[in-house]
Structures are given as structure tokens and as C-alpha cells.
Amino acid sequence: MPEISAGDTAWVLVSAALVLLMTPALAFFYGGMVRTKTVLNMMMMSFGALGLISVLWVLYGYSMSFGNDVGGKGLVGDPFQYFGLKGLMSGQVATLPAYAFVAFQAVFAIITVALISGAIADRVKFGAWMVFAGIWATLVYFPVAHWVFAFTDVTATGGGWIANNLKAIDFAGGTAVHINAGAAGMALVLIVGKRVGFGKVPFRPHNVPFVMLGAGLLWFGWFGFNAGSALAANGTAAVAWVNTLAATAVASLAWIAVEKIRDGHSTSLGAASGVVAGLVAITPACAAVNTVGALAIGIAAGVLCSLAIGMKYKLGYDDSLDVVGVHLVGGLIGTLMIGFVATDEINPGVAVNGLFYGGGFDQLWRQAIAAGAVLAFSFIMTYIIGTIIHKTMGLRITEEDEITGIDLTVHAESAYEFNDASSGASFAKSSAVRVSSAVKEGASA
């Protein structure tokens, strides 16, 4: 067992905090894209996931992902081994205290669940979303994280099948996070259906500066996501960092170039979307490709994702905020392009060459199987979980509530007070009593 490194531990703890920020950032990124009457619900889906998945993670999520493999097929970890993180105080993962690794992986689980919410904006009961989030994390994310991230003898004996048997490369979660969330979003959209007025009424983003703020903070947090996945403060982390810069930058340029050619205008929403598409695509590949490879992945993500998001109108599916077009498509691009542009010059830990570097098709088919397996598993499981919830407690709010606005009807709040005089707001009778008695107590004190 190597000694615990203070440098590595510090970097991974900071990275974990950076990745945590990505979920509030996502709330802004998504929140800006919906309407004034639904922004709070949109943001609450992310904050709800922050609360719930954190709790599930420390209870049994970590154990299901990184505990001893149950059954030896690399499908799921033992939920009881580290239940409540027991026994991990003295544990160690590579050069880190086990708790640092628990922290870092926790925030991955949170954001993966939160990502799904963009597909079903404006129309899903908050309670049903929370139930879905908990079940989905338990039955889909925790096992898939085991498949992809649990390397044998690192956190437990026996790891996941994609990491150890298939040996597909997914450095920071192109499959486990993005393909997983994208496929889940697609399945949920099929169950939940379109927003009232989809295709007829404009759903203009109500606050594009929010979207850009969110995209900027996502990028910032993503350096923790990708470079932190080295689990060490070393050269691999630095390579991942620079690739996360290069691919993302060029993806944003590619997206607005497509817009300029296709629509005549480069938009700020396009620049922000391109940033996220590039981040998604470079995620699995950031420690396996050189700068040329990173730029190629970024360009592919910017161009293909910007074209993919138009598909929903042709196919008639209301993937409201393009979770499929950005995360599923971007995740597939990054995961598959590893098979072409991976090179062993970049990372001593990944001695693999893609098709363009003389490695033949060997890595490409491994990447394809990993991507396909996660896509299929996530889609099918989500479809089953979503259908059961839809048939029992119901996923959708009523049409009337949806038209009034989910913020008001589900959360009893509105995001903005545009005009103080005409809002007509005053204290409800019960709270007026509370306030006036508090004022009296204050006066007498």
C-alpha cells in the first residue's frame, strides 16, 4: 500500500468541492433556459438531487458502487460492506484516505441524477421526481458506477466489468455519467410526454445570462471532474486539465460557427451550449488523448450536438433542455472517439492506441460495447422505473397547473417580483399574527 499523499489528498478534496459546485451551476444553466413561471422548479430538481443523493451515497450508494463485487460478474457492489461508510475511517484508496474518494465520487452521483431533470422540465411533480431520483440512483447509477469506476483491488476485491474485463476507457464518466443520464432522459421523455403547447407555443429561455453563468461555473467545476479523476496531483491531472480547456473552447466555437452558417446569427445560448457539449465529450477521453485528439473531439461535439438538438422537433419528442442532444450524443462522441484518437504517449496509465495511432479496432469495439451497454441498461431500467411511478403516484402535474406555472402550483413560490405595487402580496392572516407578535416581543425586549 503506497503512503497517503498530502498533495493528492488536497487536490482530490478541492476537486470534490469543485464538482459539487457543478450541480448548483447546472441549476442555473437549466433554470435560465425555462420560463419565468418554472425556473424555481427547474432549480429545485437539482437541489433536491443534491440533498437526496448525498444521503443515499453515504448510507449505501458508495458501498453499492465501490464495495466487493456481488456474484463475481462485475455488476454491483455489496451495499452492506460499507453501509453508512463503516470501517472507512482507516481505509485508503490509492494515495488517498478513503473518505476523500468517497467525497469525490459522491458529487458524481449527484450531478448525474440532476442532469436528467432537464429533459422533463416544467411538468413533473416534485415528489415524483424525488422518488424517481432515489430509485434511479439506487438501481441505475450505483451499479453503473461500479461497472465503470470500480477497479479491482482499489476500493474492494472484485470491481466492475467495464473497468476490469472489457477494459473500455472512461476516465471521468462519459458512459457512467453522460450516456447514462442522456439515455435516462430519453426514456423519461417518452413516458412523461410533451409540455402543453410544445411545437405551438414558444418556450423562450427566460434568462440567458443565467445560462451563461451556469455554463461558466460548470466549466470551472469540470476541471475538478476531469483533472480530479486522476485521483492524484500529477501529470495525468495536468493533461486532463489542458484537454478540458482545449476541447471545450473549440466546441463552443464550433457550435456558434454552425449557428452562423445555419441561422445567420451566433447566439450566446449557442456558445454556452457548445461549452457543455465540449465538456461532456472530453470527459471520458481527457487522459487518453493528446491535444490534437482533444481538439478533434471538441469540434465533433460542437458540430454534432448542435445538429442533434434539432432532432426533437422532427421526431416530436419534448426533450425540453436537450439532455439527449447534448449529454447522450456528446457522451457517445467522446466515448467512441477514444477508439480512434487514444494514444499511449499521453498517459503511462493508459497504454492504449486508437485506430488512428496504429492500435487497430481493438479499443474501438471495447468503447462501443461500453457505450451501448450503459445506454441500453439505463434506457430500459429508466423506462421500467418511470412507468411504475407514472402508473402509481403519477409523474405529471395537471394541465391547468402546468399552464399556471409549476413554481406557483407545486412550490407556492414565484421567482421574480417584477412590480412591487401590482404584485398584490401581503402577509397571510396567520403569518401576520406571527410577525406582529415578534415585533411586539422585539419592542419590549
Binding site: P202, R204, P205, E259, R262, D263, H265, T267, L269, G270, S273, S306, I309, G310, Y313, D322
Partner: protein, 112 residues
């Protein structure tokens, strides 16, 4: 008395205000409005989806004046708000039965 209402291009508001002040009008009410006439709207594109926005932002200016002043005030607004391009807006006059100043209770001409 008459109420002169003008719907104008927002960027012309300062010119109209200055011209009215020069004419001797000391009070007016301004509100943001939106609408369309011959100008119609514009298009916006979000993630490749093109939306037509029918309503164009405008500013509504309202001035209470004596009957004798009404036509000249309308002319002042027309001159100062005019660009000669489509979308310059409209001015119209309406009779007003009574006016009172809230602070003093003065009525009619004194309340203007």
C-alpha cells in the same frame, strides 16, 4: 380638456420629453408598452428553434392638456418622435370630463 396619448419608439422618448418641456408641458406619464402595427415583430433563434415575436417594445406617453393646446401638443410629439421609418407609432386625442389634483383638490385647468 384632452388626454393626448402617444405610442412611440422607445429611443425617441428623450426627444419627445425635451420637446414637450420646451413647449411648456410640465407633467406627463410614461409607461412601457408593446404592440404591433405595420412594423410587425421580429424573429429570435434559440438552439436552432426560430420564434416569431409579434409584439415590438414601445413607450406610451400620456399628457393632459387644455382643449386649445391639444392639437399643438400632438404636433410637438409628432415632430419630435418622427424618424420617417415604419414603426414610428401613433398619437391620439381623447376628451376628458374632469381632472383633479390629488394634493390640493383643485379642479379643471388649475389641476393641470
Amino acid at each position: 380638456m384632452k388626454l393626448v396619448t402617444a405610442v412611440i419608439k422607445p429611443f425617441k422618448l428623450d426627444d419627445v420629453k425635451n420637446a414637450l418641456e420646451a413647449y411648456g408641458i410640465h407633467g406627463l406619464t410614461v409607461s412601457e408598452a408593446s404592440g404591433y402595427g405595420r412594423q410587425r415583430g421580429h424573429t429570435e433563434v434559440y438552439r436552432g428553434a426560430e420564434y416569431t415575436v409579434d409584439l415590438v417594445p414601445k413607450v406610451r406617453v400620456e399628457v393632459l392638456v387644455d382643449d386649445d393646446d391639444a392639437d399643438s401638443v400632438a404636433d410637438v410629439i409628432i415632430k419630435s418622435a418622427q424618424t420617417g421609418r415604419i414603426g414610428d407609432g401613433k398619437v391620439w386625442l381623447m376628451p376628458v370630463d374632469a381632472v383633479a389634483r390629488v394634493r390640493t383638490g383643485e379642479r379643471g385647468h388649475d389641476a393641470l
